[in-house]
Amino acid sequence: MIRFDRVSKRYPPGIDALADISFEAATGELLAIGGHSGAGKSTLLKLIAAIERPTGGAVLVNGQNIGSLARGAIPWLRRNIGLVFQDQKLLFDRSIFDNVMLPLAIAGFPPKEAARRVRAALDKVGLLPREKAMPIALSGGEQQRLAIARAVVGRPGLLLADEPTAHLDADTARDVAAIFREFHQVGVTVIVATYDDRLFPDARKIRLDHGRIVATGAEAAA
């Protein structure tokens, strides 16, 4: 489903965020990308979602080469990807319900079907009773769960999460990690960039350091 073939990403004035990265993620897999801050985890996820373009090699998502994707095709790619950001990127002037509704409004879903899906997604993350509240009223963990609900409401086949447990206490981080495992169990491909890959014990692991893969599988878990 996802294939990185000798991928590199260089930012001006010559900073290598990723260098010669190759790996594959199969459909339905749970993959944890580990590494310290600045290792290149976020850049890797951005390449998959076409937020950035590689400066070398090829990134293939469902057979599509992201590097040569036309600008007009990017929105359609992103509609099939659920994105969870470290800083959540919530809209604080909209209600919880409206935040989760946004991807469906963009995709042009009929209002009734969209509302049903929004409530199902909010129910899944335990926020349905607070659908009318504003995001500012939520705790950090709840805001992260809201971001997850928004990412999965369109029922994407691929879920990308960038440090979804950062800034959360240990118990809340475990709860959030459990939600991702649940989506993986129902067949969603989940790729999580995390400084603490022990939260995802059943995931295949890749560890990055200074833009390069330094360990994979059991070696990375060690």
């Binding site: 937020i51 994105l83 990127k89 946004l102 991807p103 409004a105 963009i106 009929p110 928004r150």
Partner: protein, 301 residues
């Protein structure tokens, strides 16, 4: 198609929310647009009224022919007979010096002055309706009339109307120029409003792009914002012109009655009002398009 219409409906709703979300800013923008558009719209209304009144005055152009003051009645009757035989004259009405004196004494408040005069100062006169109303034909006829015996003076009564008409045409051109200038002003106001809207919606635009929004989806509410702001600005201008018309109708009616004119100030014509609304909406859309080209062109995420 249904999804596309639904997205337009949502974009209109969002644009209205943004308009009502900052009521003071919206009110000031609408007033600025309204006042700017009210000037050419009001000018158009006034010139339309003036031209309509002028058409009424010039509907039957006439020539006044005055006999010499010392000409006898016999001369006047002789001229009358000649006038009836002339091809270019459709009708000729003799106004005797006695009739003129009586009318002047009755109407103009100068009776005492006229009574004090040793004799009637007015000549016999004719009011002539020409068969051909074209200016050049009337000039030819006037020249012919001047050759008649004992004729002192021939006056084309429509000449001043033609001069005023030319002046009004000039005024109307000035209104069009003013409309063009103020139209640019409307585009500038919308340009700035949209630019501020885009800047305050940066987070929303960024999130929408990350969630798969197309350029059209992101731009649509701003286009609607510009169009609605222009339309409401046009409606404000229309209301200003309507209010001014109601206010001026009384004083203008009084002025017209002093000149014995049957004239009432008409409001902006329905066609002109529709044109005003359509143009203001189109200019709002154009301002939004220019602004989005400048502020969203660089976004590629």
């Amino acid at each position: 198609m249904i999804a596309w219409l639904r997205q337009h409906r949502d974009a209109v709703a969002l644009a209205l929310r943004r308009l009502t979300g900052a009521p003071l800013n919206t009110l000031l923008s609408l007033l600025a647009i309204g006042v700017a558009l009210a000037l050419p719209a009001g000018g158009q209304m006034l010139f339309a009224n003036a031209q309509s009144a002028l058409r009424g005055l010039a509907a039957t152009p006439q020539i006044s022919l005055f006999m010499a003051v010392d000409a006898e009645r016999k001369s006047a009757l002789d001229v009358e007979a000649r006038l009836r035989r002339m091809d270019g004259v459709a009708n000729a009405k003799l106004v005797t010096r006695e009739e003129t004196l009586t009318r002047m004494k009755a109407g103009q408040g100068v009776g005492e002055v006229l009574d004090a005069l040793p004799k009637n100062p007015f000549p016999d006169a004719f009011v002539i309706t020409p068969r051909d109303e074209r200016p050049e034909a009337m000039e030819r006829l006037a020249a012919e009339l001047r050759k008649l015996p004992r004729v002192e003076h021939v006056q084309l009564d429509s000449a001043w109307v033609q001069r005023l008409d030319a002046l009004l045409r000039l005024g109307r051109t000035a209104v069009v120029l003013l409309a063009l200038l103020l139209g640019v002003g409307l585009v500038a106001i919308t340009f700035n409003s949209i630019r501020l809207q885009v800047l305050t919606s940066r987070a929303e635009i960024e999130v929408s792009r990350l969630l798969g929004a197309t350029d059209a989806f992101i731009r649509r509410p701003f286009y609607w914002f510009g169009t609605l702001q222009g339309l409401l600005g046009g409606a404000t201008a229309w209301l200003i012109v309507l209010g001014a018309t109601a206010w001026l109708r009384g004083p203008i009616g009084e002025l017209a009655s002093l000149y014995r004119l049957d004239f009432a100030l008409a409001p902006l014509a329905a066609g002109d009002a529709v044109m005003l609304l359509a143009l203001s909406a189109a200019l709002g859309w154009a301002g939004a398009a220019l602004s989005l080209r400048g502020t969203l062109a660089g976004d590629s995420a």
